[in-house]
Symmetry: C2
Subunit: 144 residues, 2 copies
């Protein structure tokens, strides 16, 4: 469904959000330990998220990754997915015809677009805050 990079990106963002609520910055090492991902690879993904203005980085002593508290509730899952996997999950799908769409559909188009639309809506209507709260409350987990 999503690439590994995207999975790590989502989990990392959630962990950063949790810590940002407590005014703490976190390092790639802490993040990768918490979300059970390879550290250096995770660091690359964090760079991409910074470039896409989803998270912020502060270099130097006492630096790390953070998200402005006020923005956490406005960051949608779709932004993270889009930053890392691009828009193929919304556009190219099903049988991956080069030219697809209503006028030139592949055989599964009608059935597929229902699912795709639901996925899109879900990603666009889920924000980082609610995901972070589920972790804090112990309702959901980031690893194992």
């Amino acid at each position: 469904m999503f690439s590994k990079a995207c999975e790590y990106g989502i989990k990392a963002s959630i962990f950063i959000a949790i810590n940002s609520f407590e005014n703490k910055r976190v390092s790639p090492k802490e993040i990768s330990e918490e979300i059970d991902s390879p550290t250096a690879f995770t660091a690359k993904i964090l760079q991409a998220l910074v470039r896409h203005n989803i998270i912020d980085s502060v270099k130097g002593a006492y630096g790390g990754f953070e998200i402005d508290k006020k923005r956490i509730s406005s960051i949608k899952l779709s932004q993270i997915v889009n930053a890392i996997d691009g828009d193929k999950i919304y556009k190219g799908c099903g049988l991956g015809l080069h030219t697809c769409g209503e006028e030139h559909p592949c055989p599964v188009h009608d059935k597929f677009k229902v699912v795709r639309t639901e996925l899109k809506d879900m990603l666009e209507n889920t924000n980082l805050e609610e995901l972070a709260l589920d972790i804090k409350s112990g309702v959901a987990f980031l690893k194992i």
Copy 2:
């Protein structure tokens, strides 16, 4: 969403079904031309579909790939997907935790399972016959 191999497998199965309705066997070359896929790679996928008893192969002169006409309407999209991509699309999903499920969900589980279930139901309720008919009637396309 699906692997390339799976996309090719679905399209190939549809093309074989169309021809089987007319009692024609088709070769990997014809198939790959019709679905715009690499021939040798497609041949590998056809082998896998044969091993999974989704399509049949006949060697020698006038041989090729076919599907028993009577079975076409009973072959579900889910069988093809499962034969090539396995069950990860139903089981592992979302954030890909090693141990997932209701008792140990990842943060997106509740939202994700709705989409996943819908995808599963769609795949299990779509059969090769209806897809083949859409191609024959010119409503849908296999390439470009």
